[in-house]
């Protein structure tokens, strides 16, 4: 594992996995701010729990996957990732985010 390989894999996998976690609803946990309570159970909670927040859970899901792959991917592969993906991937994710959230504006 080299710094270049690990950083590259962590960044790209983390950003992509985050949007996958959002799209397919893969939070590691839910947080209920009204109760100040973290819950691993993603079943529909009672309304008395107040609104749930999945944002922290999505980030943890993405960070965990990115960390594992950053450590697991061999340096020879990680170092071969083209530098252009460093801006193409986030640009694509920004466009995807705007499309994914367009329903708010319709």
């Amino acid at each position: 594992m080299s710094k270049q390989s690990a950083f590259t894999v962590f960044a790209l996998v983390g950003a992509i996995t985050y949007m996958l976690a959002v799209t397919f609803n893969w939070p590691a946990f839910a947080y209920y701010p009204l109760l100040n309570h973290f819950d691993l159970d993603r079943a529909l909670p009672p309304k008395t729990n107040g609104p749930s927040m999945l944002y922290y859970g999505w980030i943890v899901t993405a960070a965990a996957v990115a960390l594992v792959l950053a450590l697991a991917v061999p340096r020879a592969i990680g170092n071969k990732v083209p530098a252009a993906l460093g801006w193409i991937v986030p640009l694509a994710l920004i466009v995807y985010t705007l499309m994914y959230d367009r329903h708010w504006f319709l």
């Binding site: 950083f7 960044a11 983390g14 985050y18 801006w87 920004i94």
Partner: protein
């Protein structure tokens, strides 16, 4: 307490906005003496901003995450009651942009590591531009939402 954290969040974002704008514009500058205001604004040693930008980005994100539960309970529910869907939508985009930006920071650091590698010049410029866009979007959205319904009302 939440109001204090929100003000700190805003102050950090102002510093971040200035730093990343300087750095992003520096990647487009041609090596000639700066004459105009814009030219002088871009005439900075971009690499010297990198660590500060990473620290400011993370601090701003952490502070934003600390005030987020209060936002979810007080502000978002009010926006939903007022049927202000676009306001909720731009905030949803803001949170996703912040996460994408955070994950890109290791690669951003790699591209700006000195001595600067010419192989990374294009990636450095575009990734910095994308991060600057994210910071500007998040700053403006946060500002607008705070104007719609600030904390402590």
């Amino acid at each position: 307490m939440v109001t204090t954290l929100l003000i700190l969040h805003a102050l950090m974002s102002v510093a971040l906005l200035g730093a990343i704008t300087h750095q992003a514009l520096s990647t487009y500058r041609r090596p000639a003496p700066a004459q105009s205001f814009a030219g002088r604004f871009a005439a900075v040693a971009g690499a010297s901003y990198t660590n500060a930008i990473i620290v400011l980005f993370l601090l701003t994100a952490v502070l934003g995450n600390l005030v987020y539960p209060q936002y979810r309970l007080d502000v978002r529910t009010s926006l939903e009651d007022l049927n202000m869907r676009a306001a909720n939508g731009v905030f949803e985009i803001k949170e996703h942009f912040a996460a994408i930006g955070m994950f890109m920071l290791p690669l951003y650091w790699l591209y700006w590591r000195t001595p600067l590698k010419p192989d990374y010049a294009a990636a450095r410029r575009w990734l910095t531009t994308i991060l600057a866009f994210i910071v500007w979007w998040n700053f403006l959205v946060g500002h607008i939402l705070n104007n719609i319904k600030g904390f402590g009302q």
